[in-house]
């Protein structure tokens, strides 16, 4: 189904910073390239500048002097949002309470002078696409949160935008609905193939939806990469801890081995290293019999989660080590176990942050 008509525009954000009137720096000058048809996720804790970045791309905020926003190479910096042909889904959805669902979806088309007939058929198409058939004549106040989210998405896509911008579109929903809609949204975005910029603070959303993820911290881009790169090869302690669970270990190194209270853990990297800041993901650690791994520790606690069990191991490192073990292993708190970690599962982080 060709819903957008094209695959959208490419976006270039050039040294865009944002300082608010009161002097707070929301965004340090940053440069970003987003390919045509790509889904880029801006991820970070609140106050990291991700929404400011989105609003600059949308045309709702002007970047500080020197910043530029280009769509398909064309400078859009001073073009207001209404002339940028972007579709936007707001965190609060911004649906018009004075219009029905169908009028909301068709509003952008009405503005563009699309005839009544064509408008109705386009609305019908989108209603079907977003699974809200039957709600066309409802008022916005009569919709549930999930239905509102779908209407907001349908409305944003109806105008065949060059770029789709989503500002935490699932945050206002409860957890179960969020998970379901995340999957739906993912399929829809893939089907549309449109350039999409998606803002979220939820790393699971970022992983599932993004072709690339931009991790942001305090107004600065911390790392840009595919979900795999961000997860397995974080370039800083912040990224490692923000994405998924991570064991961060700071220890001296000798002959390519971390010297830990519970033994020696071989690592890759430079043989002349004398100290390291290392990250190990909980699911990359194997629980084996004590003595059959170079590193060992004592189980402090076990929480059974269902698909896996989370073990907290003491004595192996100076801090507790978290292990996600298969749910079939039978081990109790107080037992001594070996921790089997492949050298390439130990990711060395630049020290200092």
């Amino acid at each position: 189904m060709n819903v957008t008509g094209e695959h959208g525009a490419s976006v270039r954000v050039e040294t865009c910073g944002k300082t608010f009137v009161d002097g707070t720096r929301a965004l340090e000058p940053a440069t970003l390239d987003i390919a045509r048809g790509e889904t880029l996720v801006l991820l970070g804790p609140s106050g990291c500048g991700k929404t400011t970045m989105l609003r600059i791309i949308a045309g709702l905020e002007l970047p500080d002097a020197g910043g530029k926003v280009l769509f398909d190479g064309k400078d859009m910096t001073s073009v207001p949002i209404e002339k940028r042909n972007v579709g936007m889904v707001f965190q609060s959805y911004a649906l018009f309470p004075n219009m029905t669902v169908a009028d909301n979806i068709g509003y952008g088309l009405k503005i563009r002078g699309v005839g009544k007939h064509e408008r109705a058929s386009r609305v019908a198409e989108l209603v079907a696409l977003t699974n809200i058939t039957g709600l066309e004549n409802r008022r916005i106040t009569q919709l549930s949160g999930g239905q509102r989210q779908r209407v907001a998405l349908a409305r944003a896509v109806a105008i065949r935008p060059g770029i789709l911008l989503l500002d935490e579109p699932l945050t206002a929903l409860d957890a179960a609905l969020r998970d379901r809609l995340r999957g739906e949204l993912n399929r829809l975005l893939r089907a549309l193939g449109i350039t999409t910029i998606y803002v979220t603070h939820d790393q699971a959303e970022a992983m599932e939806l993004g072709d690339r993820v931009v991790v942001m911290q305090k107004g600065v881009i911390a790392q840009i990469g595919t979900p795999r790169e961000i997860y397995f090869e974080p370039n800083s302690r912040f990224v490692a801890e923000f994405i998924g669970a991570a064991n961060i270990i700071e220890a001296p190194v000798e002959n390519g081995q971390l010297l830990l209270p519970g033994g020696r853990q071989p690592i890759g990297g430079d043989a002349n290293l004398t100290a390291a800041l290392a990250m190990i993901r909980p699911e990359t650690i194997g629980i084996v019999a004590a003595g059959s791994a170079p590193l060992s520790g004592t189980i402090d606690s076990v929480s059974f989660i269902g698909d896996r069990q989370r073990m907290i191991i003491g004595g192996a490192s100076s801090k507790f080590i978290t292990v996600d073990a298969p749910n079939t292993i039978k081990a109790k708190a107080g037992e001594r176990v070996g921790l089997l970690i492949a050298p390439d599962a130990v990711r060395l982080l630049p020290p200092g942050n």
Partner: protein, 260 residues
């Protein structure tokens, strides 16, 4: 037994207070339909005073409504966009402007009128026309329109709705008409009723600004109290009452709906 005594006491007190307030109104209204007030209702009931008032003051009453609706038109055209601008801009300057708009509520009408006369009294044509009173009424009623519209804007997150419409390609003017105004309707209605009622009943300002040919309802009322028999003045009150009550009822109904 004790509870019933307390209840009876409270009821008696309430009724006394209510009577204290209501009896003068009833007396005044009844005086307007009595043949001779000093001989009491036994002198007979008549509508002659009401007709006399109508004959004498029909023009005044009409002008009152013209001014009230002109005031409404101006406060709508200026007040609603002003409320929108003040709300979306925000910041210190908006607060200052809001305070300045609100000032006329606190400043005595006489002082405003005096300032207007000092400044524009020299423009004879303008001074003699009803537009002079209109200016005074607009200054006095504007804060009520701006405030009630702003109160609605604060509850419906108008800024995000505006951004939503903008993202769909709507120009600022289009957004204002399609999204802002329809969603501010409860506040606009409440403000409109307030403006019309206040304008119809305004005395302080108007008394200073009026000329013999530009009188409004309350000025005519004062005039008739001062120069005619009590029955005529009372009949005037009755007419005033009949005109203003439906507006007050409508205002209350909208206020109730706005809360619900």
């Amino acid at each position: 037994m004790r509870d019933r005594l307390i209840f009876a006491g409270q009821l008696l007190f309430t009724l006394t207070v209510a009577a204290f307030l209501v009896v003068p109104a009833i007396l005044s209204i009844s005086a307007g339909v009595t043949v001779n007030y000093f001989r009491g209702i036994s002198s007979g009931v008549t509508l002659q005073w009401v007709f006399q008032v109508w004959d004498l003051y029909a023009g005044t009453i009409l002008l009152s409504f013209v001014i009230a609706f002109a005031t409404l038109a101006v406060t709508l055209l200026v007040g609603v966009p002003a409320a929108y601008a003040l709300h979306t801009r925000g910041g210190r300057w908006s607060r200052i402007v809001e305070e300045v708009i609100t000032l006329p509520i606190a400043i005595p009408g006489l002082a405003i009128a005096l300032a207007l006369i000092l400044t524009y009294g020299g423009f004879g044509e303008f001074r003699r026309s009803w537009l002079f009173i209109l200016v005074g009424h607009v200054i006095f009623t504007m804060p009520f329109m701006v405030r009630s519209v702003m109160a609605v804007f604060a509850t419906v997150d108008i800024k995000t709705l505006d951004e939503g419409a903008a993202s769909l390609g709507a120009s600022p003017a289009r957004r204002f008409l399609d999204v802002i105004v329809p969603n501010a309707v409860p506040g606009i209605l409440a403000g409109a009723l307030m403006v019309v009622t206040l304008s119809l009943g305004e005395f302080n300002l108007t008394w200073m600004l009026h000329t013999p040919s530009t009188k409004t309802l309350p000025i005519g009322l004062a005039d008739s109290y001062a120069s005619m028999r009590l029955e005529v003045a009372s009949a005037y009150t009755l007419i005033f009452f009949i005109m203003i009550i439906p507006l007050l009822v409508a205002m209350q109904m909208f206020a109730d709906r706005g809360q619900g």
